[in-house]
Symmetry: C2
Subunit: 311 residues, 2 copies
Amino acid sequence: MRELDVIRAIGGLLPAAPEEVLVPVGDDCAVVRFGEAVWVAAADMLVEGHHFLPGRTSPEDVGYKAVAVNVSDVAAMGGVPRFVLCSGGAPEAEAVLRCFRGVVEACAAFGVYPLGGDTTRAGALTVDVAILGEVPGGEPVLRSGAVPGDLLAVTGELGTAAAGLLALQRGEGGFGRLVRRHLRPEPRVREGLEAALLGVHAMIDLSDGLATDAGHLCERSGVGCRIDLLRLPVAGDVRRLAGEDAEVLAATGGEDYELLISAPEQTLQELARRISVPLTVVGEVVEGGEVSFHRGGEPVEGLAGWDHFRA
Amino acid sequence: MRELDVIRAIGGLLPAAPEEVLVPVGDDCAVVRFGEAVWVAAADMLVEGHHFLPGRTSPEDVGYKAVAVNVSDVAAMGGVPRFVLCSGGAPEAEAVLRCFRGVVEACAAFGVYPLGGDTTRAGALTVDVAILGEVPGGEPVLRSGAVPGDLLAVTGELGTAAAGLLALQRGEGGFGRLVRRHLRPEPRVREGLEAALLGVHAMIDLSDGLATDAGHLCERSGVGCRIDLLRLPVAGDVRRLAGEDAEVLAATGGEDYELLISAPEQTLQELARRISVPLTVVGEVVEGGEVSFHRGGEPVEGLAGWDHFRA
């Protein structure tokens, strides 16, 4: 049984949503109305040995990242992150405290307030963050709005976090920027907010890798897409580390926490003017349900993402 | 370092709360204003081998309990539980799915809607639930309002869950009711709501055991209390299992998830009329900061609760 099968099976158990729930589980966040305001909510759990390397990742980094990846989910809805609840467990109380230091540091960095949580003993360092964000315009961007004719664009750069993980695993020095991007993601809150205000059609954050996440977006939208590996924004140090594999790493490596946005060309041009990180068109939305990759026209097969229960 | 030290140290890291946060971390829930409405929020994490017995607790029970204990935190504020976010991890995907079945079952039982969450692989079954509840009257009951002259009362019965755990550990048959109360707590939502509407002074749910939780309530209120072991509501089957230790079990055993309420005598009398579970006066609030136990007037020393990092 794979992670998506578990998630699908869980989805089948859910009761009908109450009327305040505008979008139930299945997008980057659920969407819920509190009075006049529209809020989004999500949670992500990180576990030592599965989501990060024991001994090479500090508890502070783990706590920081747990908040950052949740902030990224809010960003992908066009929301502003506001509150988190955080639970942490570890074999030693000191590790839990260090993890919470990272949580609080990330909260300060992203303007989020920690409402509460839990601490416990656990066999491995484990942290779960639940987040609440507000959608200022009241119109969150879903995964499901992509239509044929849209272009697909990504913020920032791809493959950076995967390259950082590779450098950490190999113990290779000189790639501090990449390692830092792996340990301390930079969720695209301002960019997501601008995208929402411009009415982009669909958006998702790149946690599992472009190949997998483009699949999620296309599945929810009932469309397919064509992505050109040669157009992926890959930085020089990623190319230096990964060599010929750099584009594949950029297409499949997880945890970049950039945004993948589907919108008409003009909207993307306007968005690019409003944000400070690069926005790069990497492909187009097409009819059908297939996510296909090509390299300057030549088809490329076999790109796939990350599954927690398969890995 | 003990759990309370960790929690205190984390508390020292927190920034100033934004103005919507009416009560920050430190009570059963944080209290936050969303528009016109007052909401409460909390989270609790359960980890196999620390919070439940591997092999003798089904993943469904673990999921159910994770929701129930959070519902209890909302009940202790006088809130109505509304939404949860739930993250679960286990070595096998099937165990995660079974855990989520328990989560969904509990959500149905308590009228809560699961907004989302996360699934992952982990070395041990782990589940974290974050909960949001609404406070209908807008006035949550805090731990901090107890004043000398109040009486202390508990809902339901004490020592039942600890006795159930004991029966499970010993493998003793014939105590199905106790085991069930250990595995599937019955949070006192209606009772907490009535207590809030009647304006009781202070309230806390009994997760760590009466001795410890009375200490939390007294510390936050700046008072002490005197509790009579002979007045504790202990059921016949608990006495049969625990023998002479029954009252000590009732005073120190965790996870009953009953409510401890501090209020004037008249208020408690009115509350007792409005609820269907028994309400039992077990002691009184006094000046000073000490939690003392006696047995019909004779002092009893050395009663203390549960610490996740000490156990």
